[in-house]
């Protein structure tokens, strides 16, 4: 059952990604990307990353993609389906070739993978940790102990981004 669900969500994620790249209307493209992110949220949940799945829906599909849609509608884009939105045949060939080459290189790297990878590896260890500390607690404890410095730096980054976004959007260039 879980395996079938995985392939359904994987199909949704891939379909959403392909439709996003090929739609000319920006609103349709971003909505397909939201569908792709919902598929990814389902996959995260199936892979025992329950909190990541929730945050994917709340923050990514809910907040970041709404920001994209808001900007598209604020700038009033996508009324005429602009053919200039896609590059010419040369660039399309380059894009397709680059995507296929990238997929092949990544595929070769995946074939080369040797398991297990870590000292405390194993699904049992992960599930025991989630059971012991709680689904949110497992992430929270790690974030405030092992990842305390990156957490502070991320806070600073978000502050700089807020100030930068306001300065850029308010000033007339």
């Amino acid at each position: 059952m879980a395996t079938v669900l995985f392939y359904v969500f994987a199909g949704l994620a891939l379909l959403g990604a392909l439709m996003m790249v090929t739609r000319a209307n920006p609103v349709a493209a971003v909505l397909w990307l939201v569908a792709s992110f919902f598929g990814l949220a389902g996959i995260y949940t199936l892979l025992h990353a329950y909190f990541v799945g929730v945050i994917q829906v709340l923050v990514y599909a809910g907040a970041i993609m709404v920001l994209f849609l808001f900007v598209i509608m604020l700038l009033n884009l996508g009324h005429p389906n602009d053919p200039r939105d896609f590059r010419g045949p040369t660039w399309r060939g380059i894009g397709l070739a680059a995507a296929v080459a990238l997929a092949l290189v990544l595929g070769l790297a995946i074939l080369d993978l040797r398991l297990p990878l870590g000292r405390q590896a194993g699904l049992q260890a992960l599930l025991a940790r989630l059971e012991q500390q709680g689904v949110v607690g497992a992430v929270g404890v790690a974030m405030y102990t092992d990842f305390a410095v990156p957490l502070q730096i991320t806070g600073l980054l978000l502050l700089v981004a807020i100030v930068g976004a306001i300065v850029l959007a308010k000033r007339d260039f």
Binding site: F6, F86, L102, L117, I162
Partner: protein, 103 residues
């Protein structure tokens, strides 16, 4: 005994395919907002690889995903502000207009 839903290579292959689609989209599209959305897709493909590897290489993979999401949110805010600034100047979000730093 709990087992994996799917083998790790399947998850990593899906991640690689999504990343390749995103990279192809960046090269093919001209609309700055769609190019930006393709970059978000590539970030999500990497997140999927982190989550998929978490049972095999340590729980830290799931924690790093949150940092990636935070950086993506910061990047989206600044990037969309840049797009609005360029749109005010050129009345278009075509990537041709992003050439202030080009030699």
């Amino acid at each position: 005994m709990v087992t994996d839903v799917v083998p790790l290579p399947v998850v990593l292959t899906l991640s690689g395919l999504l990343f390749a689609i995103g990279a192809g989209g960046v090269l093919v599209r001209r609309n700055a907002i769609i190019v930006f959305a393709c970059i978000e897709l590539m970030l999500n493909a990497v997140n999927l690889a982190f989550v998929g590897l978490a049972p095999h290489a340590g729980f830290e993979g799931q924690v790093i995903v949150f940092f990636v999401i935070a950086v993506a949110a910061a990047e989206a805010a600044v990037g969309l502000a840049l797009i609005i600034a360029v749109f005010r100047h050129a009345l278009s979000v075509d990537l041709e207009n992003f050439r202030l730093l080009r030699w």
